[in-house]
C-alpha cells in the first residue's frame, strides 16, 4: 500500500507527453532492410505506432512495454504484397476504366488474419483485372481499427494490363431504355485491343485524348476525363505484361511519352534487363508456380516458355528494381514462399527480402511509410523463428502500426497444439542422436523425430540446445507423502495420485517425468506398482500405466522359506490359468440355442428380392479374389469310417470285421492365426468323446489345409482342400473334402462351412444379471482372483515382474522359477548379478541394482562398475530412487556411473528407454519416438556434460512451469 502511494506520488513528475504509447520489441536478429542493415540482439523502439529507433543498444524509456521474442526470433519489416486481388471483383465493362478506385473495392473493416499470419502487412490493391486500364491502384494495410487509416496511399498507380488476358475482351453494350422502334436495342460495341500494337495504340490515343482534353467515343463518355488528373499527378503506370515483346512495347511507349512504368508479371523480362534498368522501370515478378493444384502444361515446343525462377535474380543482378509477388491463385499469405522460390532461382536472401519489403514500397511511392524498419516508418513488422527466407521458418507474430495483429497459437484451447522442438542434439534415448535434430509434437504425442521434421500450420517452434526423453524413476516413492503399507492386488492405484503438487513440479524440473510408484513393504501376492507423471496438471495425463509392475521377493527371513512365496504364487498362477483355459475351451464348445430363423417367402416383396439378387450378382462380379481366411469358420459334416480289418485274412475265411462301417458326424471350428498357421477344435466321436484341439497350416491359394491334434489313440491328422476359396463363393455353402487319419482310422471326411465366424471368447465381465439368467448351459467362468489376474497379465507380458534377489544362488533359482512359466523378471537388489551375468542374458527383463554403483575390486585401483558390467553383458539396467523427492538424484547417479566407467549413451538409456522397457511402459514413454508421449527434457548441453542443466520440461506436450 505504501509503495503504491509512492508510485502515485511519482507519476506527476513525469512529463505530460508521456501519455504516448511506447513499445520496445526485442529479437535475436532484426533485418532493418534499409541499407542492408542487420542488428543482432537488437531492440526496435516504437512510439505511437511509429518506429523511433532500432539497434543493439537502444535506450528504452521506463514507460515502454517490452516484448522480447528471444534470441532465435528474427524480426523483419512487414511484407508488402506488390500485387493483390483483395479489391478486385468482376470485370469492369469497358476497356479503359480510369475512374475505378481500388479503395472502393477494399474492405477496410475486413479481418485479414490469414494473410497477416504470413507476415504480410500491406498490399497493393488492383481495382480490377484484365483491362487495358483497370483503374486506380492503392496501397493499404491489412489491419487497423480505423478503416480510413488503413489506406497508406491512394491512388498510387494507374493500373492496367496489355497481357493476353486483357486483350480480346468482350464488347461493351448498354441496353438503351426505353427500347423502341426508333431506338433500337443495338449491338455490343467492339472494344480494343486485340493485339499488343492495338493495346499500345489505345494507350497513345488515350494519352492524346488527355492532352487534347477530348473524350474519345470508343472508351466511353468519361474515360479521358477521369484519366487526365491521374496523368497530371504523374502516377506510375503499373501495367501487366508477361511476354518479352509486350514489355518491349511498353518500354517504347514509356520512353516516348515519358511515363513512369512498373511491369506487372514480367515472366519474359530477363532479356530486357539492361533496358529496364536504364529506363528505371521496376518489375513486379510473379513467381511462375501456383501451389495447391495440378501441374500446368506450358507446351512441348522448343520455344515454349517453361517456368523460369531465375528471372528475378537475373533482373536484380542487372540492377533492376524487382518486387516479388504471388501469382493469381497463390494465397497472399504465401508471399514469403514466393520469395523463397526466387532464391531458388539464384536470388540472394537479402535481395529476396528487399523484393517483398522495400522494393514494392518504393515502386508505389510509399517507402516513407512501409517497407523497412528505419526510424520514422510505421511499426509494421513480422517475427519469425528462423530466417524468414529459409524453408521452415515459422511465423510468431505480426504487428501493424505498433499493434499486435497476429500471434501464433493465440487460438482457443480446443485447437490442436503443435510444437516443433528444434535442438542442436536430439537424444532419442535408445542411443540414437540426431545432431541437429527436431521433434514434432502434436497434441502431446511425438509425431516425428529427425534432422528436420514437418512444420504443420500453426506450429510453434521452440529452440533449445539439447533434448532428451524425460527420465523414468524405475522405482520411486514420490507421491506417497510418507504413507506406509503395501496396496493389495487389484487396488486402484490411481486413487493415490493427486495433481498439482509443487514438489512434483520441482522434481519434474530436474528432468524426472515418470515415476513407477513403489510402496514400502512386501506383499505375499505381489505388490502392484503404478507408473505416472507426477507433475502432470490433470489426472487424465497423469497416469502412464495403472499397473506397470508387480513386485515380489525371493529371499525370506527364514532361509528354508527362500523362494516359497514366488513358487507358491507361480503354482497358483498355473492352476488359475488352467481354470480359465478350461473355461474358454468349454465356452468355445458351447452353442447358444438359436432362435428359429424367419424366412421371407419369395413374392412377399418381389422388388426387394430382385434387388437383392442383383446385389448378389454384383457382388459376385465384384469379388472373386481369393479369400485369405476361407478356412476360418465352423465346418459341419461327416467322416465315413471304413471297416477296419484285424489281422491277415486266412484263406477262405471272411476277414474279421472289427469295427463296422460307420458314418460319424464331424464338427470343426477353426480359425486362421497368422497365415499359414491355423488352430481350432474338432469334435468327432469316432476319435474321442472330448473336444480335440487341432493345429496346422492352411494354404490360402489352393485351399489345402492340414490340421493335427492329439486324441486317445494318439496323433491324428485331418487334411483336405476347400472347394471354393473365393471371397464371394459362387454357390455357398462352401465345403471341403479330405481325409481324417489317426489311430485306427483312415476316413474320407467332408464338411460344409456353416458359419464364417469363429467365436473368440472375450473374457466376460462379471455381471450379476447374467448369473440370474436362465440356465442355458453356458459355461460358468472361474472365480476371479485380483492377485492372480495381475499375474495373468504379467504372463502376457503386459506387466513387469520385479523380484528381489541378492545372492547368485537366489538369482539363478528365481530366474529359473519364472522361466518355467515364461516370465522374464526384473531383478531388484541383485548384488551378485554381475557375477552370474553370463547366465542371465535373455532370461531377465533387466536388473535394478542396489544403489552401490561401484564396488571395490581386489585392490584399490581396481573397481567394478556393476551397472556397466551388467550392461556390457547385454542385461539392461536402470536407475531408481526408492525415495520421494530424492528422485532428483537420478541424473547425478547416472553421472557418477559415467564417471566410473559407463558410457554416456548407456547411462542415458538406463535413465530413460531401458527403465521404460523394463517396466513394460516403453510403448508410452522412455524414448523420443513417433507415437510416444511427448515427455521431453530440454538441456543446456549434452546429458552428463558438467555444465548441462535442465532448461525446460514438457509433460505430454505441456510445459511444466
Amino acid at each position: 500500500m505504501i509503495s503504491f502511494a509512492l508510485a502515485l506520488l511519482a507519476v506527476p513528475s513525469a512529463p505530460a507527453q508521456e501519455s504516448a504509447e511506447w513499445v520496445a520489441v526485442r529479437a535475436g536478429t532484426i533485418h532493418v532492410v534499409e541499407d542492408g542493415r542487420t542488428v543482432k540482439d537488437g531492440t526496435l523502439l516504437v512510439k505511437d505506432g511509429v518506429i523511433v529507433a532500432v539497434g543493439a543498444d537502444v535506450e528504452v524509456p521506463s514507460a515502454a512495454r517490452v516484448v522480447d521474442y528471444g534470441p532465435s526470433a528474427v524480426l523483419v519489416p512487414g511484407f508488402v504484397a506488390a500485387d493483390s486481388t483483395l479489391a478486385s471483383g468482376s470485370l469492369p465493362e469497358r476497356t479503359a476504366n480510369p475512374g475505378l478506385r481500388a479503395t472502393d473495392g477494399y474492405d477496410a473493416y475486413g479481418n485479414y488474419g490469414r494473410i497477416l499470419a504470413g507476415g504480410v502487412t500491406s498490399a497493393y490493391i488492383s481495382p480490377a483485372q484484365a483491362r487495358l486500364i483497370c483503374g486506380q491502384g492503392a496501397v493499404v494495410k491489412l489491419a487497423g481499427d480505423d478503416p480510413g487509416a488503413r489506406t497508406v496511399a491512394a491512388p498510387v498507380a494507374i493500373d492496367g494490363s496489355i497481357a493476353a488476358e486483357a486483350r480480346g475482351i468482350q464488347g461493351y453494350w448498354r441496353l438503351p431504355l426505353p427500347g423502341t422502334a426508333d431506338v433500337g436495342i443495338g449491338r455490343p460495341l467492339e472494344q480494343l485491343p486485340r493485339t499488343t500494337m492495338g493495346a499500345v495504340l489505345a494507350y497513345e490515343e488515350l494519352l492524346d485524348g488527355v492532352a487534347a482534353g477530348v473524350e474519345l467515343e470508343p472508351y466511353g463518355p468519361t474515360a479521358v476525363g477521369q484519366l487526365a488528373p491521374l496523368v497530371e499527378q504523374g502516377l506510375v503506370w503499373r501495367i501487366g505484361a508477361d511476354e518479352t515483346h509486350e514489355i518491349r512495347a511498353l518500354l517504347g511507349l514509356a520512353k516516348q511519352r515519358g511515363l513512369k512504368l512498373v511491369i506487372d508479371g514480367g515472366q519474359g523480362a530477363a532479356p530486357l534487363a539492361e533496358e529496364l534498368r536504364e529506363a528505371g522501370v521496376g518489375v513486379v515478378f510473379e513467381v511462375p508456380f501456383v501451389p495447391n493444384r495440378q501441374g500446368i502444361n506450358r507446351g512441348k515446343g522448343a520455344d515454349a516458355v517453361w517456368p523460369d525462377l531465375t528471372v528475378a535474380s537475373a533482373l536484380a543482378r542487372e540492377g533492376v528494381s524487382v518486387s516479388i509477388a504471388t501469382p493469381p491463385g497463390m494465397a497472399l499469405a504465401d508471399l514469403r514462399f514466393a520469395a523463397t522460390l526466387a532464391r531458388k532461382g539464384g536470388m540472394s536472401a537479402a535481395d529476396a527480402l528487399r523484393a517483398i519489403t522495400l522494393e514494392p514500397a518504393r515502386m508505389y511511392g510509399v517507402a516513407d511509410r512501409v517497407g523497412s524498419l528505419a526510424p520514422g516508418k510505421d511499426a509494421d513488422f513480422a517475427v519469425f523463428v528462423g530466417e524468414p527466407l529459409e524453408l521452415g521458418a515459422v511465423a510468431l507474430a505480426t504487428w501493424v502500426g505498433g499493434e499486435l495483429a497476429y500471434e501464433a497459437g493465440a487460438g482457443d484451447d480446443e485447437r490442436t497444439e503443435i510444437t516443433v522442438l528444434r535442438a542442436g542434439e536430439v537424444h532419442v534415448g535408445d542411443g540414437t542422436v540426431h545432431a541437429p535434430g527436431e521433434v514434432l509434437v502434436i497434441d502431446g504425442t511425438i509425431v516425428e523425430v529427425g534432422a528436420r521434421v514437418a512444420r504443420p500450420a500453426g506450429a510453434v517452434v521452440v529452440d533449445v540446445p539439447v533434448v532428451m526423453p524425460g527420465i523414468v524413476d524405475a522405482m520411486g516413492y514420490l507421491g506417497l507423502d510418507g504413507r506406509r503399507g503395501t496396496p493389495d492386488p487389484g487396488y486402484d492405484l490411481t486413487l493415490l495420485l493427486e495433481p498439482g503438487d509443487e514438489t512434483d513440479v520441482r522434481v519434474a524440473q530436474h528432468g524426472i517425468t515418470t515415476v513407477v510408484l513403489d510402496s514400502p513393504g512386501n506383499s505375499g501376492s505381489g505388490a502392484p506398482l503404478i507408473a505416472y507423471r507426477p507433475a502432470s496438471h490433470d489426472l487424465d495425463t497423469m497416469v502412464v500405466d495403472p499397473l506397470a509392475a508387480i513386485r515380489t521377493f525371493w529371499p525370506d527371513g527364514n532361509p528354508r522359506n527362500d523362494g516359497r512365496v514366488v513358487l507358491g504364487l507361480l503354482e497358483k498362477l498355473t492352476k488359475y490359468q488352467q481354470s480359465w483355459d478350461g473355461y474358454y475351451e468349454k465356452l468355445a464348445k458351447w452353442e447358444p440355442e438359436v432362435a428359429a430363423p424367419q424366412f421371407k417367402l419369395p413374392g412377399d416383396d418381389g422388388d426387394d428380392a430382385e434387388a437383392e439378387e442383383e446385389e448378389d450378382d454384383k457382388k459376385k462380379k465384384r469379388n472373386d479374389d481369393v479369400d485369405p481366411t476361407a478356412l476360418t469358420g465352423i465346418w459341419v459334416g461327416h467322416a465315413v469310417v471304413e471297416p477296419a480289418v484285424m489281422g491277415e485274412a486266412e484263406e477262405g475265411e471272411e476277414p474279421e470285421v472289427v469295427t463296422p462301417a460307420v458314418t460319424e458326424r464331424l464338427r470343426l471350428q477353426v480359425r486362421l492365426l497368422e497365415a499359414p498357421a491355423a488352430e481350432g477344435w474338432l469334435r468327432f466321436n469316432g476319435l474321442s468323446d472330448q473336444l480335440m484341439h487341432v493345429e496346422g497350416t492352411y494354404d490360402a491359394e489352393s485351399g489345402a489345409f492340414s490340421l493335427s491334434g492329439l486324441c486317445t489313440h494318439g496323433r491324428f491328422t485331418l487334411a483336405g482342400t476347400i472347394d471354393d476359396v473365393a471371397v464371394d463363393p459362387e454357390e455357398p455353402p462352401v465345403g471341403f473334402a479330405g481325409r481324417l487319419i489317426g489311430g485306427p482310422f483312415d476316413a474320407e471326411a467332408s464338411a460344409e462351412r456353416t458359419s464364417r465366424d469363429y467365436p473368440v471368447a472375450e473374457r466376460p465381465t462379471p455381471d450379476d444379471s447374467e448369473a440370474e439368467s436362465a440356465d442355458d448351459g453356458k459355461p460358468r467362468e472361474p472365480r476371479r482372483d485380483a492377485a492372480m489376474d495381475q499375474w495373468l497379465r504379467a504372463l502376457r507380458g503386459e506387466v513387469a515382474v520385479i523380484c528381489q534377489a541378492d545372492t547368485a544362488e537366489h538369482i539363478l533359482a528365481c530366474v529359473a522359477a519364472f522361466e518355467s512359466v515364461g516370465i522374464k523378471p526384473v531383478l531388484q537388489g541383485a548384488a551378485q548379478a554381475h557375477v552370474v551375468a553370463d547366465q542371465l542374458e535373455g532370461r531377465v527383463a533387466g536388473v535394478l541394482l542396489t544403489h552401490q554403483i561401484e564396488i571395490g575390486g581386489a585392490t584399490a585401483d581396481i573397481s567394478i562398475n556393476r551397472y556397466a558390467r551388467l550392461q556390457a553383458a547385454g542385461i539392461p539396467v536402470a536407475f531408481y530412487s526408492r525415495a520421494e523427492e530424492g528422485a532428483v538424484d537420478l541424473p547425478l547417479m547416472a553421472t557418477f556411473a559415467v564417471e566410473t566407467g559407463m558410457s554416456p549413451s548407456a547411462a542415458l538409456r538406463a535413465l530413460t528407454s531401458d527403465a521404460a522397457t523394463m517396466m513394460a511402459i516403453d510403448d508410452r514413454v522412455g524414448r523420443l519416438e513417433r507415437g510416444l508421449s511427448a515427455d521431453i527434457v530440454a538441456l543446456s548441453a549434452a546429458p552428463f556434460d558438467p555444465t548441462s542443466e535442465v532448461l525446460r520440461v514438457w509433460l505430454a506436450g505441456r510445459e511444466v512451469r
Binding site: A87, S88, G105, Y106, D107, A117, L177, D412
Partner: protein, 464 residues
C-alpha cells in the same frame, strides 16, 4: 379468443353492412359514419404514454382525441368498438419492404424511372399478412440488387387497387452501396459516381444548349409525347446541397428534363427520400459519401445488414437514421483463432445515438412485434424497442406527424391487441387503418382454415 362484444358487433354489421371479406369490406364502415370510438382497457399512445381504460375518438380517418374514458367527449351517434380486454397500439410501420410485388428487382443498374406502382400486387398475400401482424403502413421499395432502383410507394395494406392502397406515391428512391450481382465493389462505386456525373453532364449540356439558344430538351420532351403545362412549363434554379451545381437550370422547363434523369434531379434537390442499402460497413462509407456529395444526406435513410454495425461511428457522425434488416445478432468468426464473436447490433446503434427502425422485410425474421420483443430480450429497454417499430420508422419515412403514435391528429391506424404488445401470447385481434375496420381475427378465413380445419372453398363462399 377475444371478440368484440356481440351486440355492438351486430350493430356494426347492420349499420354498415360489414362484410367479412378481409380487405374489401371495411371501407363501407368508414364512409357510413363520421366518427368512431375505440375503447380499450389500455391505450399505448407511444412508448412514453399509456392510458388505462381509455377511448380513442376517430373522425375522418384521423385520431380526433385520446384520453381516459369519460374525459373524452364522445359524440352520441358514434360507432363504439373495442372493449376493456383490448390493448390499443399504434399500427406498426414497416419502414422498408421489397415485398408485395411480383418481383423485387429490375436488372438494369440505374433505373430511377421505374416505379413500384407498376409492380405492387394488391392481392398479394403479403398485404394480408401485414394486417395479421398489425402492420398498417408499408414502405414498398425495390430490392437491393441495383445501383439506383425505382421509386417506391408508401401504402396501407388495404384496398383492391393501388390507388386505394397508396398513402404517398412516388415515395423515395432505392440505392445500393452493396455490389449488385455481377458487379464488384469498385465497379458498383464507379457506376454510382458515374450516374451522378452523368446527371451533371446532362444538365450542363441542356443548359448549355439553352444558353446557346437551343431548344433541345423541350423538343425531345414533346417528341416523347410529354405535355409541358402548369408547373412543368416553368424552370426553377438548381437548389441542392450537392458539392456541384448548375447555373441556369431555370432556363429549362422542369417538364422538359429527361424522364430518366428527372427522379435523380428530384433526389439531388432533396425532394424525395433515399433508401440506401448497405451490406457491410464498407458500403456505409460509399453511401454516405454519395449522399453527401450529391446533397441528399438530409433525406437519406440507410437500410443496413447486420455487419454494418462496425461503421456505427460513421453513421452517427453523418446523423442519418437507419433501418435494420436481418438478424439482430451479428456473428463473426476470427479466421485465425476460430473464435466466434456475437454483437447485438441494435445496442451499438443505441449507444452511438443512431435512430434505428426495425423491419421485417427479411423473410427469415418474424414480424415487428416479435423483433421488438426479442430486442428487449437482448437488452433494449421497452420504450426503445417500441419506438423502433412505431415512431422511429415513421420518422425515418418523414411521416412522424401522421404515423407511429396514437396522439390526436395522427392517422387512425390502430391495432387492438389481446394483451401486452411485446408478449409472445398476444394476438392482433382488430386492425383499423385510417379509421376503417380492416381486420378481425375472429373472421380471418385463414385462421378458420388453420384452427377449425374448415374447407377453404366453403369458407370463402359462406363468407361471401
Amino acid at each position: 379468443m377475444l371478440t368484440l362484444e356481440p351486440i355492438r358487433l351486430k350493430d356494426a354489421v347492420r349499420a354498415c353492412a360489414l362484410g367479412a371479406a378481409l380487405v374489401a369490406a371495411p371501407n363501407a364502415l368508414a364512409q357510413s359514419s363520421d366518427s368512431l370510438v375505440i375503447e380499450a382497457g389500455r391505450i399505448v399512445v407511444d412508448s412514453q404514454n399509456e392510458i388505462e381504460d381509455g377511448v380513442l375518438l376517430i373522425e375522418g380517418g384521423r385520431i380526433a382525441a385520446v384520453g381516459k374514458r369519460g374525459e373524452v367527449e364522445v359524440p352520441w351517434d358514434a360507432q363504439v368498438m373495442g372493449g376493456p380486454d383490448f390493448t390499443a397500439f399504434p399500427g406498426f410501420v414497416e419502414a422498408y419492404s421489397a415485398r408485395g410485388m411480383d418481383r423485387a428487382n429490375e436488372r438494369i443498374d440505374v433505373a430511377p424511372f421505374l416505379d413500384v406502382r407498376d409492380a405492387i400486387d394488391p392481392i398479394n398475400v403479403y398485404f394480408q399478412d401485414c394486417l395479421r401482424w398489425g402492420i398498417t403502413t408499408v414502405n414498398v421499395q425495390q430490392g437491393p440488387d441495383c445501383v439506383i432502383g425505382g421509386r417506391g410507394r408508401l401504402v396501407k395494406p388495404v384496398g383492391i387497387t393501388i390507388d386505394e392502397m397508396t398513402v404517398r406515391p412516388g415515395f423515395g428512391l432505392v440505392m445500393s452501396a452493396a455490389p449488385k450481382s455481377g458487379k464488384s465493389r469498385a465497379t458498383q462505386a464507379g457506376a454510382m459516381r458515374e450516374t451522378f456525373a452523368e446527371l451533371h453532364r446532362y444538365l450542363e449540356s441542356i443548359v448549355q444548349d439553352a444558353k446557346d439558344g437551343g431548344d433541345f430538351a423541350r423538343r425531345e420532351a414533346l417528341a416523347q409525347g410529354r405535355e409541358l403545362d402548369g408547373d412543368k412549363a416553368e424552370g426553377r434554379p438548381f437548389q441542392s446541397a450537392a458539392n456541384w451545381s448548375i447555373d441556369g437550370l431555370e432556363l429549362i422547363p422542369r417538364g422538359a428534363i429527361d424522364e430518366q434523369k428527372e427522379p435523380l434531379l428530384d433526389l439531388v434537390e432533396g425532394r424525395v427520400p433515399a433508401f440506401f442499402h448497405c451490406a457491410g460497413p464498407h458500403d456505409v462509407h460509399l453511401a454516405i459519401e454519395t449522399a453527401k456529395d450529391n446533397g441528399f444526406l438530409e433525406r437519406t435513410t440507410l437500410v443496413l445488414q447486420p455487419a454494418c454495425w462496425k461503421a456505427a461511428g460513421v453513421i452517427a457522425e453523418a446523423g442519418v437514421p437507419v433501418i435494420h434488416t436481418g438478424s439482430m445478432i451479428h456473428t463473426e468468426t476470427d479466421p485465425v483463432t476460430g473464435e466466434e464473436t456475437e454483437t447485438f447490433v441494435l445496442e451499438v446503434y443505441r449507444d452511438k445515438g443512431i435512430t434505428f427502425a426495425l423491419s421485417s422485410q427479411n423473410t427469415s425474421t418474424a414480424s415487428l412485434w416479435y423483433q421488438a420483443a426479442r430486442a428487449v430480450g437482448h437488452g433494449l429497454t421497452r420504450a426503445q424497442a417500441i419506438d423502433a417499430v412505431t415512431v422511429a420508422p415513421a420518422n425515418a419515412l418523414g411521416m412522424g406527424d401522421h404515423l407511429g403514435s396514437l396522439n390526436a391528429g395522427r392517422l387512425a391506424n390502430v391495432v387492438l391487441l389481446s394483451g401486452d404488445p411485446l408478449a409472445t401470447t398476444t394476438m392482433v385481434e382488430h386492425v383499423f387503418v385510417e379509421g376503417a375496420h380492416a381486420y378481425d381475427r375472429s373472421k380471418d378465413p385463414r385462421n378458420r382454415i388453420l384452427f377449425e380445419g374448415a374447407d377453404p372453398l366453403d369458407n370463402l363462399r359462406s363468407d361471401g
